[in-house]
Amino acid sequence: MNLVCVNCPKGCRLTAIKDENGNISVTGNSCPKGIEFATSELECPMRFLTTTVALSPEMAKRFGFERLPVISTEKVPRDRMVEISLSLASCVVSKPLRIGETAAKASGFIFAASCSF
C-alpha cells in the first residue's frame, strides 16, 4: 500500500506491506513516526479532528466571533470524522474557557478549546 505520511510537512511517500503472518513492513520513512503512521493506516486510520462549536450570544461578544475553534483531545477514526463533526452541531459554549479546557463532548470524544477567550 502506498501512503503519504501526514505527521509533518515533509510528507514522506511510504510503502507498507502486510505479509501473510500479519507483520507489517514499512519503507520510505525518514523517522520512526512513519512506521507508526503506516501501521495505523493499515489497521484503522486515525486523525485529530478540528472543527468549531457555537458560542452563546454573550460568549460570542466576549470572543469577538460566533464560533469557537476546538480540537479532539485524542485521534478519532478517520472514517467517522464527518459524522462526529456533524454531531457537534447542537453544542453551545456558554462560559469563558482557557486553551485546552473541555468545550464539548460528542460521540464519546472530548473537544478542547483551541484558544483562550
Binding site: 501526514v6 515533509k10 510528507g11 466571533f65 460566533e66 483551541s114 483562550s116
Partner: protein, 412 residues
Amino acid sequence: MIDVLVIGGGPGGLAAAVSASKAGASVMLLDREHALGGILKQCIHDGFGLQRFHKQLSGPSYAQAFIDEILLLPVDIRLDCFVFEVSCLEDGSFRVLASSRDGIIDVNALAVVSATGCRERTARQVSIHGDRVSGVFNAGCIQNLVNLHGYMPGQRCAILGSGDIGLIMARRLTLEGAEVVGVFEAKKTPSGLERNIHQCLDDFGIPLHLGCTVTRTIGHRRLEAVEVADTDDAMNPILSTSRIVSVDSLIVSVGLIPEVELLKNLPVKMDSRTHGPVIDQKGMTSVPGLFCCGNSSLVYDLVDYVSLASETAGQSAAKWAKNRGLARKTEIQVHPSGPLLFISPSLIDMDSSSVRFFFRASEELEGRTLTLCQNGHEIFKRTYSVLRPPQMETFEIRTELLDPDHAVEASL
C-alpha cells in the same frame, strides 16, 4: 517617539514585537482587527508548530503562545487600528498614520516593521469568463466565514486551485456537511503539500483533477454550474474537452501574494521573484530602518519559519532604533539562476554573523544540488533528494565565509 512600530498582529507581527520588546525597545503594535492572531485565528486545523514547539498545534493554539507572551511585555497594543500611511521623515524616522475608533493615530517611530501578511489572488486574476454571479469565493474568505462566523457558502462546491488553503477548505466544507465535487488544478502537479493532498482529499474521497481548470461560471444571480476543461502543456484550456459541472459555489485558491500596499509610497525596492520588498537577512528593506517580515516579505509555507524570520526582524529593528543612524556598512547581492522560484534574502548584510536563506524550486526535481558561488569559488552546496515547489527549504551560513567584494550566485 517610539523605538519600534509593528504593523500587523498576526504571527509575523507578534514575533517581531515580542523580540523587539525583549531586546529593550519601546514597542507599539497596530492591528486592523479586533483580536490578535492574524490569519491563524481562522486556521483552525492542526499541523502548526512542529519545528518550533515539536508538536502539532492548531492555528489558534500556535497564536495563543505568542499572545500570552506579548501580554506580559510592555508592548502598547492597539486593535481596530487601520494603518493607511507610512512616510519617511527627513531625520530618518517614520510617521505612521492609522484610523482608530478614537480618531486618527499619528505616531513617530525610529524603526517600522511591516508584517501585513499576504493576499489571495482572485478569480478575476485567472481569467474565468461567464456570468457575474454570487457563489464565487476566495478560499481564505470562506475559511473566515465558516470557521469564525459559522456561515456555509453552499452545499455543492468546486474548488479551483490546489493550494493548501483550497485543500484545507475542501476537508473543512466536507466536515460541515457540504459536498465537494472536486479540486481542479490547471497545472499537472499539485500546488499544495503532499500531506494535505492525502489528509484533506484522499481521506474523504474528494477527486483531484490535475491539468484541468474552470473556464466559465454559469448562473442567474447565483452560481448554478461551472464549465471545466482540460489544459495543454502551456496551461491553456482545450476547448474540445469542455464539460459542465453543476455546483452552487466555486472556491478559488490560486495563490498568495505579499501585501505591500502600505510600502508603495516609500522608495522600497521590490523583488520580482518573491513579490515582496528586497530584504536582507534581518528583514531590512532598501529604506533604512524599515523592516518587512512574515508573508508580507515572501510567502512562507510554514508559520514556524515566519516566527523565526520575524524574531530576527524585531531584534534588528530594536538594535537599529538604539544605534540610530548607523547605516548598513557592507552588503552583497544574491543572484539566483536555474529552476529557483526565489531565494531570500536577496541582499546580505555583512555586519551580521550569519545569514539564513529560504528558497523554493520552480518545478519538482530529484537529486538536485543548490550551490552558492562567489567569483567562481564555491561557498556552500547541498544536495536535495527531492525538491517540490510547495515546500520551502532553508539553510544557514556564516557570513565570514563570504567575500564582501563579490555578489553571490545561487544556482540550482
